[in-house]
Amino acid sequence: MPVTPAVRYLDYAATTPVAPEVALRMSECLSAHGEFGNPSSANHDFGIRAAGQVESARAQVAACVGAEPAEVVWTSGATEANNLAIFGIAHYYRGSGKHIVTARTEHKSVLDCCRELERRGWQVTYLTPGPEGVLEPEQIAEALLPQTVLVSVMHINNELGTIQDIAAIAAVCARSHQARLHVDAAQSVGKIRLDFASLGVDLLSLSAHKAYGPKGAGALVVCRRRAVQLAPLMHGGGQERSLRPGTIATHQVVGMGAAFALAHAESPGETERLRALRERLWQGLGALGGVWRNGDPLRSVPHILNVSFEGVEGESLVADVGVRIAVSTGSACTSAQREPSYVLRALGRDERLAESSLRFSLGRYSSSADVDAAIDAMTRSVKRLRGISGA
């Protein structure tokens, strides 16, 4: 992957490059010779053509996740989708109850919404998954109250790669008379097959840039069959059924549609290729000794590997390997704070091990040469830093 000649990119869970086919489709929507019209301008051909592109993209996204096109609401990304789902449900159904259930290991864009709702008078139950990051459906069942209006659980943990059993969680929520299930599936597309219609999920958050689409595009899938209602976050236009007003960025959603179409067509062989690369990486890192694999390898997506390294200080590890490989410590959104991963801390890892943990994530352009370079870089850094620390 040609990022810079010296640095190998192993941070695909943070973001992915836009696929060349996607970039081409997007560029066709920007210039005077392309579909640059306002898709809301139904009175002339420019707008009508742009609207056609937007609806084609909506159909591509829907097909990729097993939803109906009419269920797809465009957003600026998964963070906005999460905000719309959580605040939208909380405010629309506030007369029915003010209780939400989520997990301590959710993305910040879910946890911060929940904390804000707590400040506004809602009650939130934060569940702690097991040591490998798996949330048991029974935990959800025990947390549900008569006044629970929302359960929010991520499909794939962005730091560990752990896959939650969404169908089982949905079955638990279905027994509640009013708890809607929201699933943050930002990491899922292209990694694991999603079928919104059969999962029993009410709301699904999606991101384009985790799946070789552009940053600044995402969607919230809202189940029509169960007539899920949301209060909008913004006002000022009728776009997206008034749930997300504002001129639709044609090039962005067309890019998302194209990226999801590519992901939908990706062969199962790609999953196996990534799994083999990940295991090759783990074998190489494991040879160092004093390393811990975080998460359940039997219940994880094929492209993410999270490892803690004993005897090395976290910041030094990141600084040392950062000149050779691009990886993440904790989630990208919290890395600047230099705090140990709250996900690993929630799962019981001690502070030092959580600090010296790295997430390696592979993708479409990863090769065995990238993996071997990462093993070499990590081996050199860990041995060097253990030497400096006397470990």
């Binding site: 005897g311 200080e313 910041e315 030094s316 600084a319 040392d320 230099r338 502070e351 030092r352 600090e355 030497g387 400096i388 620390s389 006397g390 470990a391």
Partner: protein
């Protein structure tokens, strides 16, 4: 985090990293691995040297790049000078030299404590 050129240089070339023991070696340490920062200095001050001159320094650091860099710099600065519990520059000056963020000032104080413990042991022997 962005590191200064000096920090990057000393962090990447910690020639004095390691430990040493022997009759003319004096050890001091501060901090703890459990708390996320631990530093140890070993100073070689030959007993034959009346002036108490530092001949060699070794250090170990379970610490961030800033602290590792400061330890290496200290090790280089001390050689050929009389053992002194004070750093060659104030902690604030060292902080400025390596562009250490203010929130890491406490880590530099741990370096200073470890240095003072090692140098103090050497001075104690000299004065005995």
């Amino acid at each position: 985090m962005i590191y200064s050129e000096s920090t990057r240089h000393y962090f990447e070339h910690p020639a004095s990293a390691g430990a040493a023991t022997g009759v003319d070696w004096f050890r001091g340490e501060a901090g703890s691995r459990e708390r996320g920062i631990w530093v140890q200095f070993d100073l070689q001050v030959p007993s034959a040297d009346r002036g108490g001159t530092v001949r060699s320094v070794r250090f170990l650091a379970f610490a961030c790049p800033h602290v590792v860099a400061v330890c290496q710099w200290l090790a280089e600065q001390a050689i050929g000078r009389p053992a002194d519990v004070r750093l060659p520059e104030s902690v604030q000056a060292v902080r400025a030299r390596f562009e250490v963020p203010l929130e890491k000032l406490g880590r530099l104080l741990i370096v200073e404590d470890a240095w003072a413990a090692a140098a103090g042991a050497a001075i104690l022997r000299r004065n005995a």
